[in-house]
């Protein structure tokens, strides 16, 4: 995670103050000449001298005012930040939403001159500085180094980059400044927040050959008692129920257990452009990804096999698998889900249906907006005996809460949405209108009719 700097672009700038000084000096100089007034000319000369000296003092071998950009240059000579070195260290490269990352930057001055520097480590806009500061004004002595430490809070999932480090040197009067970027970048990943789910009440109707943690009410190798039956040759003696045998009048009775099975759970996450309707931190996509992450964690902990399909401008899928590694694969995909495109649900279901076992539970996380194929797609799934659960974070609620939608518009759109949901319920899908702030557990229970 430690990187050494590379050299960045160059920016030479006049401040508003220096521009005003220069304009005033020129105006007074010209006016003085026209009016033949030595006082005005003298003031102008002093102002110009003041500016020139400040410009001279601002000049720095590292952040030089040569006026050339790095792209036009071979990064040699006065352009290079030869004497300033930056190293950054992150406490973690992967966090969950609302998690914190400690960042420390070490700035080394390898020259023999003391430097007054403004250092700003560029942090993604959505991040919040929790502790310390990413913007430091310092006086760094010759052959000295210093460390800047700060903590950022990551409120939203996604792939993020910290950097570049902007170094600015300005004269003491704030007239001119020269800026350089040290192209030092560190990437980190923010996974969607997960909620504990007690019991999602979703299980497959079709058993798989491997045993798992979910009980499907079919006799087989499992842990829960299912029935008693007569002994048949080959049954293990440990299965013999001696009490029942005694009661049955000599017939050897054995315990039969429910068969535990692994379910294939498919999570469909709608990441079309429409799913980002609403405020940045409260929209359908944010809620969908959090729900998908929570469900994936829950099912994987039950040793189910979980697959995820994220559809927006393209269909991105994570093949079904089990285990902790699968959870991180899913979380990474969910972290990178971008609201783009308008792929209809029908196209998604057509693509994935041949690859899913019949009867597998399918959980659709979608705002159910702007897609005329939803009814067809769900009908198709239901006709093939798939257990369909739809969790629909309502963008109307987000918009209405953010006061971007008036009451009339809200009511109208809500009516349309209710009609669509009723239709989907009529097809046998478990549908839940997931309102903001409602716990995922509650929403799931609502969807399953509990």
């Amino acid at each position: 995670m430690i990187e050494i700097l590379t050299i960045g672009g160059l920016l030479v700038a006049w401040s508003r103050k220096s521009a005003m000084f220069a304009s005033l000096a020129i105006a007074l100089y010209l006016l003085g000449l026209v009016l033949r007034n030595q006082q005005l000319v003298t003031v102008a000369v002093v102002l110009l001298s003041f500016l020139t000296w400040a410009a001279f003092r601002t000049t720095n071998a590292d952040v030089s005012s040569s006026g050339r950009r790095l792209e036009d240059e071979n990064a040699t000579g006065g352009i290079a930040l030869q004497n300033l070195v930056a190293l950054r260290k992150l406490s973690s490269a992967r966090v969950f939403e609302d998690g914190e990352i400690d960042v420390s930057i070490r700035i080394q001055n390898k020259s023999n001159l003391s430097k007054v520097l403004e250092v700003r480590d560029r942090v993604p806009e959505v991040m919040r500085i929790k502790k310390g500061a990413n913007y430091v004004l310092m006086e760094l002595g010759p052959q000295r180094e210093t460390e800047i430490a700060y903590t950022i809070e990551a409120p939203l999932r996604g792939f993020y980059t910290i950097g570049p480090v902007c170094i600015r040197i300005q004269d003491t009067f704030g007239l001119f400044h020269n800026e350089r970027e040290i192209h030092l970048y560190d990437d980190f990943l923010v996974f969607p927040k997960m909620e504990d789910i007690k019991d999602a009440l979703i299980k497959s109707r079709v058993p798989k050959i491997f045993t798992g943690a979910v009980n499907i009410r079919n006799p087989g190798e499992g842990s829960n008692f299912y029935n008693l039956r007569e002994y048949v040759p080959g049954d293990a003696m440990k299965k013999v129920n001696w009490k029942a045998t005694a009661r049955s009048g000599g017939k050897l009775m054995v315990n039969e257990f429910e068969r535990d099975a692994v379910s294939d759970i498919i999570l469909l996450v709608d990441s079309r452009s429409v799913s980002e309707t609403g405020p940045v931190s409260r929209n359908s996509l944010v809620y969908s990804t959090r729900a998908a992450a929570s469900l994936a964690q829950y099912f994987l902990s039950r040793r189910d096999s979980v697959g995820v399909v994220v559809y927006g401008d393209e269909i991105v899928s994570v093949d079904r698998d089990t285990g902790k590694k699968q959870l991180y694969v899913i979380l990474t995909k969910l972290a990178g889900a971008m609201a783009k495109g308008n792929t209809p649900l029908k196209v998604v279901t057509n693509r994935i249906l041949p690859h899913i076992n019949r009867g597998s539970p399918i959980i659709i996380l979608s705002p159910l907006e702007d897609d005329p194929t939803i009814i067809d797609a769900v009908r198709d799934l239901r006709s093939r005996n798939f257990d369909v659960t739809i969790l629909s974070p309502s963008s109307l609620e987000f918009e209405f809460d953010a006061r971007r939608l008036d009451r009339t518009g809200y009511e109208l759109l809500k009516t349309e949405r209710d009609i669509l949901m009723s239709e989907l319920r009529g097809l046998g899908a478990n549908v839940m209108d997931w309102e903001p702030d409602m716990l995922l557990n509650t929403a799931l229970s609502g969807a399953r009719g509990f």
């Binding site: 000084f21 005033l24 006016l31 003085g32 009016l35 033949r36 007034n37 030595q38 006082q39 000319v41 003298t42 003031v43 102008a44 000369v45 002093v46 102002l47 110009l48 001298s49 003041f50 020139t52 000296w53 400040a54 410009a55 001279f56 000049t59 071998a61 590292d62 030089s64 040569s66 006065g78 030869q82 004497n83 020259s111 023999n112 001159l113 007054v116 310390g132 500061a133 913007y135 430091v136 004004l137 310092m138 006086e139 210093t146 003491t172 009067f173 704030g174 006061r403 008036d406 009451r407 009339t408 009511e411 809500k414 009516t415 209710d418 009723s422 309102e435 409602m438 609502g446 009719g449």
Partner: protein
């Protein structure tokens, strides 16, 4: 009898949990009949004024500052002293003759009014400046700049004239007084802008937006610059103002005494155009230093020395 609650709000922090659609009948009952746009639906839009559009933003920003810290207080005191000196020097070096108000008052045969306006302008500049310094009011400071520059604008000959007759007649002392006036003005502008800058910095530090390491060293450097820069600027200004003495001296050294004497007595060199010539010469030298990238070369040399 206490009415039993039928919803689930008591279970979910006051949030009613529904698995079915909300009652539109209920909502319809709450709906208003008017088509009026809700007040909060209209965003606040700031339409920039003509001046703001021209300068790309407000000339002076409205900023609320925290109580001044030690650095700001020191700067306030320095600025106040500088303003006092500037006002006195302005009064001494700028006679009322040649100003627009002098011409107007003479036109109405009331020459006293011109002097009164002149004094009032200096007083406004002083009082406005003092108010601006201690209240950190940028508008008042800006007004004082404008007024104190305005009083010096007058139609006059090239000869330096003073408002007080008691002042020295010698050319060098006159020029030194002129330079000190210009330096006081520039220093006043710098110190007042320093007050605002350091107040903003102090606010940023206290709100945690920026962290400053070695504050004392940074402020010490600023104070040092406040000492050195005016000296340099004054020296350059002195060179340009003394061009009518420097050029004849150089010519004299080269051997042509007659030409040197003629140059020293020439009206052009002693007038404001001589100063213009001096400015051109000095700043041409400075420009060529920048053109050959001399500052960067010097900085590189200093940084790499001893390596």
């Amino acid at each position: 009898m206490v009415e039993q609650k039928s919803d689930t709000s008591h279970l979910y922090d006051g949030k009613t949990v529904r698995s079915s659609a909300p009652s539109r009948k209920k909502a319809a009952g709450r709906m208003k009949g008017s088509t009026e746009i809700p007040k909060d639906a209209i965003p606040e839009v700031h339409v920039p004024s003509v001046i703001e559009s021209f300068f790309g933003g407000p000339i002076v920003t409205k900023t609320k500052f925290l109580p001044p810290d030690r650095v700001v207080q020191t700067l306030q005191m320095s600025a106040a002293i500088m303003l006092t000196l500037l006002s006195i020097v302005t009064f001494t070096v700028t006679p009322v003759s040649g100003t627009a108000w002098f011409w107007l008052s003479n036109a109405i045969n009331q020459p006293g009014i011109g002097a009164l306006i002149h004094l009032s302008l200096i007083a406004i500049g002083f009082i406005g400046g003092m108010y601006g310094i201690f209240q950190r009011e940028q508008r008042a400071i800006l007004i004082s700049y404008v007024v104190l520059i305005l009083v010096t604008i007058r139609f006059a000959g090239s000869k330096v004239e003073f408002g007080i007759d008691l002042l020295p007649d010698g050319e060098i002392s006159q020029k030194l007084l002129l330079i000190s006036y210009a330096l006081f003005l520039v220093m006043y502008i710098e110190l007042t802008s320093g007050i605002i800058r350091f107040s903003m910095l102090d606010k940023s530090i206290r709100t945690g937006e920026v962290y400053v390491m070695n504050v004392k060293k940074i402020t010490r450097q600023y104070y040092r610059s406040l000492m050195i820069t005016p000296l340099i600027a004054g020296l350059v200004a002195l060179l340009t103002l003394m061009i009518n003495l420097i050029i004849p001296t150089i010519v004299g050294l080269l051997g042509s005494d007659a030409t040197a004497t003629r140059l020293a007595e020439s009206v052009e060199l002693t007038s404001v155009y001589g100063v213009a010539l001096g400015t051109a010469v000095v700043f041409m030298i400075v420009a060529s230093a920048f053109a050959v990238n001399l500052p960067v070369r010097i900085a590189q040399m200093r940084e790499n020395s001893g390596k």
